[in-house]
């Protein structure tokens, strides 16, 4: 029967929560195994992520990146496309942001520059997503394969450009010149200072607001526009979309371009914000984490914000943990992050049948009590 479904609050609330707890439980065993106290580790992680102002700043800074890449994956996912290429799209998008900023930063402050930077980044990210999208829609090459390959191409291309073209003359490290101070996005510290509040310094900048705006825009796009209606219909049932007279190929290409443009906004946070220049590997896996974020957030902007916060905390808390407890190395922190991704992403449906059964039992008992 089709009505064997759980209420939404269990599906999107309780189940992810249990998954996270399971991941931490297994992580706890791993930490026990190397002879450290899991409780202490958890304590370090939580204090690291939320315990002091600078930590919170870092957590939210990571969160910003994950919101962008999470939204990118989600938009594509609604059209039934699995965009694994967020990493490359963010990387190339950052190149667009960097090039635009470097050509205009000598005479434009950040607030005049930002529309151009966003446009350039979005165009570069979209262009990087366009080729796999075109191949998927018109040639049938699977977008999963092509986007993965495009990550490698992006990475190689950026190394070439940073080593040979964009490198600051006289510098030893492969990175571009630093942008003019006025062109760099104000950090949250500066923003709060305007209101007379003093907070600790961190890479967190106003790109966080851009991320939240993007969440609203994606929500509007998917559930309040014709394009979103078409995207979701293609994702659920492509045959029905053809029946409805939707140009599925064109819609697939447009969707992927939007997805690539969203991933490219990582470039705003990093190149125009935290780093102030283009440098090697600045995306640092945010594109891949976006997949887990989107899965966990059920491809909904609100869910993505919450999941991004969790992963932001994991990143920041994890860094703190490996710093404070020397026997828990960075690699072990990656194991913990990996477990969370495993349980929330790959195994997200593992416990569903059990929960369903439990719920049915509870529900049936309640029904009987009511009768």
């Amino acid at each position: 029967m089709s009505n064997k479904t759980l209420p939404t609050w269990i599906d999107v609330g309780v189940i992810p929560l249990i998954n996270v707890c399971l991941a931490f439980l297994v992580s706890g065993f791993v930490i026990l195994l190397i002879g450290e106290s899991p409780l202490e580790a958890v304590q370090w992680m939580i204090t690291g992520a939320f315990g002091y102002a600078e930590g919170i700043g870092y957590t939210l800074y990571y969160t910003t990146n994950f919101i962008f890449t999470g939204l990118a994956v989600a938009v594509a996912f609604h059209a039934g496309l699995f965009n694994i290429g967020g990493e490359g799209q963010a990387y190339i998008g950052g190149l667009g942001v960097g090039l635009m900023c470097m050509s205009l930063d000598s005479f434009m402050p950040w607030w005049a520059l930002i529309p151009f930077a966003i446009a350039a980044g979005a165009a570069f990210g979209a262009a990087w997503a366009f080729i796999p999208a075109y191949l998927q829609a018109y040639r049938g090459s699977h977008v999963v394969i092509t986007t993965i390959m495009f990550n490698f191409i992006a990475s190689a291309l950026m190394v070439y450009l940073l080593v040979n073209v964009l490198i600051e003359p006289g510098s030893m490290s492969p990175q571009s010149r630093v942008l003019a101070d006025a062109a760099i996005l104000p950090s949250m510290k500066d923003v709060f200072a305007v209101f007379g509040v003093n907070i600790a310094n961190s890479p967190l900048n106003i790109a966080l607001f851009l991320a939240l705006i993007c969440c609203v825009l994606v929500w509007l796009l998917l559930w309040h526009t014709r394009l979103g209606y078409s995207i979701r219909m293609i994702g659920f049932n492509e045959q029905a979309a053809v029946y409805s007279g939707i140009n599925t190929r064109r819609t697939i290409v447009i969707t992927m371009c939007i997805s690539g443009a969203l991933a490219a906004m990582v470039g705003i946070n990093e190149v125009m914000g935290a780093q102030g220049r283009v440098l090697l590997d600045y995306v640092a896996g945010a594109g891949f984490t976006g997949i887990a974020v989107s899965l966990m957030g059920r491809n909904h902007p609100v869910g993505i914000i919450i999941a991004s916060l969790l992963f932001g905390a994991l990143y920041q808390g994890g860094a703190e943990l490996s710093f404070e407890v020397p026997s828990i190395t960075r690699d072990l922190v990656v194991v913990i992050q990996g477990l969370v991704i495993l349980f929330c992403g790959a195994l997200s449906l593992m416990i569903k049948p059990t929960i369903e059964k439990l719920f049915m039992k509870f529900f049936a008992a309640k029904e009987r009590a009511n009768v």
């Binding site: 509007l220 526009t225 219909m233 659920f236 029905a240 029946y243 409805s244 007279g245 939707i246």
Partner: protein, 529 residues
């Protein structure tokens, strides 16, 4: 397996199946309420009811897919608990599903023994399976070539393989779920012969169907289900179609379509020499030409899979015209003038898709989103940037009211409506704009009797308003009673045409199996004589 059979010999007089006070709920929905059912040994027992009456749930409980919340299952006089289909098979219950569970690229023998191999050596298993299959084939008159590739067999023969699979596993009680949906009338007759042979050898058969004439034709006893309860057990000899229909629906039902003779006028839709090749180069449509006139309903009869789907796709703009042309309301559409489904709609074409789950609606969407499919770009549903969601909801609510879709809730997920109400919503969406030409695929597939009547009325009144209607249906009764003119399709070609008043099941059936044509022995391929 065999030892268990021996123990039940003492209870030879007891019924094959005795269900007592079976209850099953899904959340707040009571799918089965205190259901009692007795199936006598060696009888054919029909179970009839509308969609959602609880037939499938009951059979799923018997076959171990679900467990009952309460109640007892007695098989051959023994209280039994069935937790899985494996338990059911061990108890001697076999099931033939509506959609066959066969692997097309396996031979008949491999399919029959799959999962029930006697030995870990494949060669040894095949040897013993072959002997057993031979025995069953001769005993029950189920002739199938064990080495034929299953996918190459005609549908009727594939069904035999399914029955053999069940018998091979020692089934003494056979459940058949809507077995005749995909068969020609001749194949149905063959199936009934098989069922009779099974009955004579002591196998009990449970036939689940929504077709009244089958119940009358073959069963010994019949049980009617309605709203999760057993309404009435009847001896088939002592009842009739009208009584059964009334019991199913709970009120008197009109079984014939009530309509005036057609008054055909000018041609509104014409197909000229349509030919469509699939990606493998096989002709799915082969030189199809037909005309549909204003004020008439043209029916297309045929066993499913003979080009009807492709024809609808081309006539509605889902597939591009490859060869030939379509003339719709005076506009010529061919490979030089390719139009998509939206353009066809703008030429005043309505299209109720054959398969609402695959094409006609998106079950994950809410009803209000389904209600604008194909019309999503119309200005009435759109503001300058965003969609006018209020207008969409209002539109859906008005459709639901006009076409009596229940529950009357535009925000409910489409999947949560019954088949009949889903179909009403699809038909409402297409008819509401009074299209000049309406294509309807399987107007009443998976729709309960009460809604069938309503849907037929809607189609007839669109015709009476001077529009052209083309109906594709695999239900012969429906084609004959609803349509004014009938063409029969076989392997992508039109093999016959007649006025509905001249048609009968025998004539149409012969055309559908192409018994008049050259390769009439198609349905017997793979049979060992």
């Amino acid at each position: 397996m065999l030892s268990q059979d021996n123990t039940s010999q003492g209870a030879a007089r007891s019924p094959a199946i005795d269900l007592r006070k079976i209850n099953k709920s899904f959340g707040p929905v009571k799918a089965n309420k205190d259901v009692d059912l007795i199936v006598a040994k060696g009888s054919i027992h029909g179970i009839i009811g509308e969609n959602g009456a609880g037939k499938s749930t009951l059979m799923s409980i018997l076959y171990g897919f679900y467990e009952a919340d309460s109640g007892e299952i007695w098989v051959n006089g023994k209280l039994t608990s069935i937790h899985s289909s494996k338990d059911a098979i061990t108890t001697g219950i076999g099931m033939v599903h509506q959609h066959f569970m066969l692997i097309d690229t396996f031979t008949v023998l491999e399919n029959v023994m799959l999962g029930a191999e006697q030995s870990s050596s494949l060669k040894q298993s095949k040897k013993s399976a072959r002997a057993e299959l031979q025995r069953l084939s001769t005993e029950f008159g189920l002739a199938v070539d064990p080495d034929a590739m299953t996918g190459d067999l005609a549908v009727g023969l594939q069904q035999r393989v399914e029955i053999l699979k069940a018998l091979y596993r020692g089934a003494e009680i056979l459940i058949l779920d809507e077995p005749t949906g995909v068969l020609t009338p001749q194949e149905v007759q063959q199936l009934f012969d098989i069922l009779q042979a099974l009955r004579e050898r002591g196998v009990s058969v449970m036939l689940i169907t929504h077709k009244l004439q089958e119940i009358i034709a073959i069963t010994d006893e019949v049980t009617v289900m309605r709203g999760g309860t057993m309404v009435a057990p009847r001896e088939t000899a002592k009842t009739n179609k009208e009584e059964l229909a009334e019991l199913m629906v709970g009120r008197k039902v009109l079984l014939r379509v009530d309509k005036e003779p057609a008054k055909p006028q000018q041609v509104l839709l014409e197909a000229k020499n349509l030919t469509l090749l699939d990606s493998a180069g096989i002709a799915r449509l082969d030189d199809v030409s037909l005309q549909v006139r204003a004020g008439e309903i043209l029916g297309i009869a045929g066993v499913s899979g003979n080009g009807q789907t492709e024809l609808l796709d081309v006539l509605s703009g889902i597939s591009a015209v490859q060869r030939g042309s379509v003339v719709l309301n005076g506009v010529n559409i061919d490979k030089n003038n390719v139009l998509n489904a939206k353009d066809f709609r703008h030429l005043s074409l309505g299209h109720v898709a054959e398969d609402r789950h695959k094409q006609g609606m998106v079950t994950q969407f809410s009803a209000r989103e389904c209600a604008i499919m194909g019309f999503q770009d119309e200005p009435e549903f759109n503001g300058r940037l965003l969609m006018d969601n209020a207008a969409v909801t209002e539109h859906c609510a008005s459709l639901m009211q006009q076409f009596d879709v229940r529950p009357n809730n535009p925000h409910l997920k489409a999947a949560n409506f019954s088949g009949g109400n889903q179909q009403k919503l699809c038909i409402a969406r297409e008819i509401e704009r009074q299209p000049k030409v309406l294509l309807v695929g399987q107007p009443t597939r998976g729709v309960d009797i009460g809604a069938i009547e309503f849907i037929h009325q809607q189609i007839v009144s669109l015709r009476d308003a001077g529009n052209a209607v083309l109906v594709v249906s695999v239900e012969l009764e429906e084609v004959m009673s609803l349509c004014d003119r009938i063409v029969v399709m076989f392997e992508g070609r039109i093999v016959g045409e007649m006025a509905a008043v001249d048609a009968d099941a025998q004539k149409l059936g012969l055309l559908m199996g192409n018994a008049g044509g050259g390769d009439s022995d198609n349905s017997t391929t793979g049979v060992v004589s």
